[in-house]
Amino acid sequence: MSVSIPIGPQHPALKEPVNLTVTLDGEKIVDIDMRLGYNHRGIEKGSESRNYIQNIYLTERICGICNVAHTTTFCQGVEELLGLEVPKRGLFIRTLLCELNRIHSHLLWLGVAGHEIGFDTLFMYSWRDREIVMDLIEIVSGNRVNIAINAIGGVRRDVSDDMRAQILQGISQLEARSQYYLDVASTEVTFLRRTEGVGKLPKEKAIELCAVGPFARASGVEYDVRKDDPFAAYPYLDFKVRTSDRCDVLGTAIVRALEIVESCKMCRQVIEELPAGEIKAKAPRKVPPGEVVSKTEAPRGELIHYIRSNGTDRPERLKVRAPTLANIPSVLYSLRGGYIADIPIVFAAIDPCMACMDRVILLDTDHGKTKRVMTWEELRQHGMEWYADRKG
C-alpha cells in the first residue's frame, strides 16, 4: 500500500517554496512528484517591458545567491549584440566577483548541507567564515548579496589598491579555512555516514538526463563552461576542473570544497594580474537587431541567456534557463529508492535554487499504477469527513 505525503511549500529544510509529493512504501521512496511555480514571477514577460539598463537589475534578482552570474551572462550577451569591446580590467573585475560569489555560494551550501543532516557545528562555523567573503564582496560592490557591479560595456566600480590588499588578506584566510572544510567533509564520520552512498547517480544517467554543474561533476561528467566555452577573463587564468567519481552526495560535497580552494587561487591570480586601464566602455541605449546565446558557469552549473533584440531599447525576447532546472530530473532519479530521511540532504545536493528554477516538473515514469494525488482542498475535506464520522 503506497502512501502519498505532500511536503508542503513551507518546510524547515527547504528554505524556498517547493511542493514535493512523495509516494512511500514504508520508509522507501517509490515515486516523487514535484510541483513548483511558487516562485514563478513572470520575469521573461517583465523583461520585454523594460529597457536594457533596467533589465540588468531584473535579471540580477532572478536568484539572490548566484546573481552576479545572471548579470554577467546578460551583459555579455548584450555586448556581443552591440559588438562592444570590453576593456580588459573590466573583464578581470567581473571574473573576480564571479569567483568571490562562487566561494560565498559554496560555503553557504556546505553550511546548509550540514544543517540538513543535523550537523549544526559545521553550519555555524562555515557560515561564520562565509562572513569574511561577504565583507570582501561588500567592500568591492557596496552590497553584501546583490552585487550590482556589471553594466553593459564593463563594470561600474573599480578595485582600489587598499581593496586589493584587503582581498588578498581575506583570501589567504579563506584558503586556510576551505582546506579545513575539505578535510572535515572527507573525514568527519557524522558527515560521511549521512552522505556516503546516498542519492546515487551513475555517470551515464547524469549524461542522459543532462545534469550540469558540481552535481554532474560529482558523477564524473567533465563539463565546465569556464573551460569549454571561456568567457570574461577565464582564458587568462589557469585552473583545474575538479571532478570526483563517487557519484553520491559526498561526491558533491568534496567537489564543492575543492572548487572553493580553486576559486581562492583564481581570485589571487586575478588580483595579482589586474591590468590597468579603463573599466567600462560607453554603450548606446538602442541595440541593433540580432540574437545571441550567452553562457556562463553559475555556482550551480551552466547558465544560459538567449537574448533577441529588435533595434529598440527593449529586448524582444529574454530566455533564461537556470542550472537547477537542468538538475531536477537527475535529482528525482537519485531520490527514488532512497529513504524518506534522506530527502533533505539528497535534495540539497544539487543546491536547489527555486528562485532560479521557477519552471519545472518531474519525469514521471509512472509504471502504470494510478496513484491519486489529493489537492489541498480535497485533503482538508477528507480530513473533516474522517473526523466527523469518527466522532459521529
Binding site: 523594460r50 529597457n51 539598463i53 533596467q54 540588468i56 537589475y57 531584473l58 534578482r61 557545528t121 559545521l122 562555523y125 561564520r128 562572513e131 565583507d135 561588500e138 567592500i139 557596496g142 552590497n143 546583490n146 550590482a148 561600474r156 566600480r157 579545513y180 578535510d183 572535515v184 573525514t187 568527519e188 564520520v189 557524522t190 560521511l192
Partner: protein, 118 residues
C-alpha cells in the same frame, strides 16, 4: 580514513578566541565607505529641467517626480519599492543623487517610507 569528532580541536581552540559576535545594537559593525544605502537628493544640483532622467531608468519605479511650483519636477523616493541599486545616481545628468550609508530604515507602515527630502 574517517575520524570521529574531527571538529572538536577546532571547537576547543575557539574557547579561548575572541567572540565572533558583534552585539549589534550596542556595538556597530564597520560600514564600508560606499555602501549602497538610502538615496539622498542634493537640491542645488537637481536642475528640475531633466523631466525625470532618474525616474525613467529606475528598475523598480521607485522614484516619483513631483511638481515644484511649475518650475519643473523633483524626485521623491519610495523607499519601500527602492532596491538601492544606485542606477539613479548614475543616470542623473547633474549628479544630484548620492547613496548614503544609512541602511536602518525599518518602519511600521509604508506611508512613512516615502522619503521626500525637500
Amino acid at each position: 580514513m574517517t575520524r570521529i569528532g574531527s571538529m572538536f580541536p577546532e571547537i576547543w581552540k575557539h574557547l579561548f578566541k575572541k567572540r565572533a559576535t558583534v552585539l549589534y545594537p550596542f556595538e556597530r559593525l564597520n560600514v564600508p565607505k560606499d555602501l549602497r544605502g538610502k538615496p539622498i537628493l542634493d537640491e542645488q544640483k537637481c536642475s528640475l529641467k531633466c523631466k525625470g532622467a532618474c525616474a525613467i531608468d529606475c528598475p523598480a519605479k521607485a522614484i516619483v517626480m513631483e511638481k515644484v511650483e511649475e518650475k519643473g519636477s523633483r524626485p521623491v523616493f519610495l523607499l519601500d519599492r527602492c532596491t538601492f541599486c544606485g542606477q539613479c545616481s548614475e543616470s542623473c545628468p547633474f549628479g544630484a543623487i548620492k547613496l548614503s550609508e544609512e541602511f536602518e530604515l525599518a518602519q511600521y507602515d509604508r506611508k512613512s517610507l516615502v522619503s521626500k527630502q525637500w
